[in-house]
């Protein structure tokens, strides 16, 4: 009896141990997955065309030399809903698409005009996908075309788009990054309309699809970020040009570093580099009317002198600071003016600022905020400080012999 009991215990222990050997319930091996890096969604009639850029692991690994085939491949499928289209991709793909490493989501311009809200839900609902990818709108082209353009420095075009936008947003004022969480938050926030960066294919788009594109030093086709797409609710209504985008990003405190030129008194241009920039928006009620004050604090340095100007005198720096302040006011006010006149709704979140500062005043005004926004008084308080002028004192331009 004791023997029977003992052997029963051993069997039980072994049986339990076998549970440990099985591993994950729904494990997926790396070679069963197609790693999706870029995604594009276009609207074709009533259906969504989803294209997915999938990396070919052998082609991007460092050790093995490239065998001359494309480092990525593109699968696309068309279906009535986005998630269906994703699953339908397996009609052409040999592996299940694994979406956790998605870097960019490119939305087609026609889709953006009809409304992007419906396609976004899947990305925030799906537990697999991470939310740190960037969104952009394809301008004058389909979203799929953007993903088809081969790039050279980053072997994977989706990575190229991601890092290009990331770097550009950090060092160049007219571009900005928008993640899906930020976009959804902007879509649900009252008194704020979202914007997205636009991307277009410049050059010969058809040649850009071929591998020969990157055999040239100056590729026949590249992707390029151009301006910001303005959304009304979730529908694309227009674009901001470079100057307006710059103004928008300064107001929204999106600028980390940038460069901008000023006119010298005696002709020619001088370039200031923005080192640090912070913008605060303050909303007040004055005389029963909302007044917005945009407070910009900017630290710049002189980085390029292309005119005759005496940089040895402290007054010159004072004058430059003053000119830069005027330039910032002009940038921001022209962006606000353009948006007021052309679109007539609030993309700067002034309404949201009013809500945060004076919730009761906002309650009274929120239903007719569009009209209020057109009449809104916006004040600018700009403080530019120039601390450094680089490594040289006065420009040699002043001393070039006659």
């Amino acid at each position: 009896m004791a023997f029977l009991r003992k052997s029963l215990h051993i069997c039980l222990a072994l049986g339990l141990a076998s549970l440990l050997l099985s591993g994950c319930w729904n494990r997926r091996e790396l070679d069963d997955l197609a790693i999706q890096l870029g995604t594009s969604i276009d609207k074709i009639g009533n259906q969504y065309r989803v294209a997915v850029q999938v990396v070919i692991p052998g082609e991007v690994s460092v050790r093995t030399s490239s065998s001359g085939i494309s480092p990525v491949t593109l699968y696309h499928a068309t279906a009535p809903t986005v998630f269906e289209a994703f699953r339908k991709l397996t009609e052409t793909s040999s592996r299940k698409i694994y979406s956790a490493h998605i870097r960019v989501l490119v939305l087609g311009e026609s889709l953006a005009k009809e409304g992007i809200g419906e396609v976004l839900d899947m990305f925030s609902r799906n537990p697999e996908a991470r939310t740190d990818f960037y969104l952009m709108v394809a301008r004058n082209t389909t979203a799929m075309q953007v993903l088809k353009t081969i790039t050279s420095l980053e072997k994977i075009p989706a990575e190229n788009l991601f890092y290009a936008l990331d770097t550009s947003a950090k060092t160049w004022a007219p571009t900005t990054t928008v993640s899906i969480e930020k976009l959804i938050e902007q879509l649900v926030t009252e008194g704020l309309s979202p914007v997205l960066t636009g991307v277009k294919v410049v050059g010969n788009a058809e040649r850009g699809e071929e591998l020969t594109n990157i055999q040239e030093i100056d590729p026949a086709a590249r992707t390029r970020f151009v301006g910001l797409a303005v959304f009304r609710k979730d529908k694309l209504v227009g674009w901001l040009n470079e100057e307006q985008s710059r103004g928008y990003n300064y107001i929204m405190n999106n600028v980390k570093s940038s460069a901008g030129h000023l006119k010298c008194p005696k002709g020619g241009l001088i370039t200031l580099e923005t080192i640090r920039n912070t913008t605060h928006i303050k909303a007040d009620i004055k005389g029963g009317k909302p007044v917005i004050t945009v407070k910009l604090k900017n630290v710049s340095s002189v980085s390029d002198v292309e005119c005759r100007i005496d940089l040895t005198k402290p007054e010159t720096i004072k004058r430059l600071e003053k000119a830069a302040e005027e330039r910032f006011v002009e940038l921001m006010s022209s962006a606000v003016k353009h948006v007021k006149e052309t679109y007539g709704f609030d993309i700067f979140g002034f309404g949201h600022q009013l809500f945060q500062a004076h919730p009761r005043a906002w309650e009274q005004r929120k239903d007719k905020w569009d009209e209020q926004f057109e009449q809104l008084e916006v004040k600018y308080e700009v403080d530019v400080q120039i601390h450094k002028i680089g490594t040289t004192r006065d420009s040699f331009l002043n001393y070039i012999k006659e």
Partner: protein, 369 residues
Amino acid sequence: MQAEQRVSVRQMKVLLIFFIVGDLMWYLPSYTAGVADQDAWMAALLGVGLGIGVSSFIYWFGSRFPGMTIIDIHRHVLGKFAGGILSLLFLIHLMSNGSAQIRVIGDFMTTQMMTETPLRVVLFLFAAVVLISVRMGLTVIARTGQVFFMMFMLLFTILILLLIPESEPSKILPIASHSAADIIRGGLFVVAFPYCQMTVFLMLFPLLEEERLSLKQYMIPLIIGGAVIIIVVTLSILVLGAYMTQHQLYSTYTMAKKISIGNFLQRLEAILVINYLLSTYFKCVITLYAFCRGLTQLFGLRDYRVLTLPIFLFIFGYSYVISTNVVFFNSLGPAWALWEMSNVIFLLGFVYVVHLLKGLIKGKPLHSS
């Protein structure tokens, strides 16, 4: 055998903290932000204040009847039959709480981490772990609590520290834009969820090694647990904003996903989830331990251990059928909160009033003579 299962005051404190933090991480930020938006932190503050009051009442009620569990108290005050019915209500409440806590874990795992795993597998494994712990007895549970307590606090501190850079102070604005009614409604969730549930401890207080827990010793874990609640709700608002806190099924998980220190220290959510699982596990173990002990006492059995296997099977099944889907389960929240509050009012308040009246009726002839 049961008499051996005793805990020290120190261990009781640890269990109290685990119980208060418990499963609140899963749903409390969403519930409070659901009614009070960005003022949820005020609701949490108010709720913790009121909640400490309510749980002091629970403590005070227990100390009126030294050495008695709530089952004993009901029998003592109301007699075998009426007291038994109240005790049965109390036990049904414990059982439902335990099952719901297991279900919360099951729903979370199958939603966020292992989407293709059947819910029943997760429920079975978690219920098994919980009931094995219950079978081991309170001494073992309390010592386990002590072992894990440092890790729990460490992970929680890491969570807070790493989330501070992600928080945006402007998300809390405008302050106090909601009416007092909304803030109180949000606060009542906090009162109901960890604090009203503390009636469970009326089963455990008589098991203390020392004579009894002083009010001061009881207050410290309440305040620490309350601080955790306030910090989690406030962080959730600061990091995610009111909209995301309301609309994410598991906002604390989404919040942990946001951690990114220099694009290097990130994707820690799976590690931090251990923390949420740990506190839920302890809450569940305490609840079901009290359930087993209560059942044994009510029916006059000798040892609760014989019950653990049937109770395990029952809890596993109940946690599966308690709700047909995740939407229904989440919609239970407000009703469940009312249930918790009415438990305190009827099972404790009503019983104490009856006890007082009995004393008056019995006392009167004594005084007159």
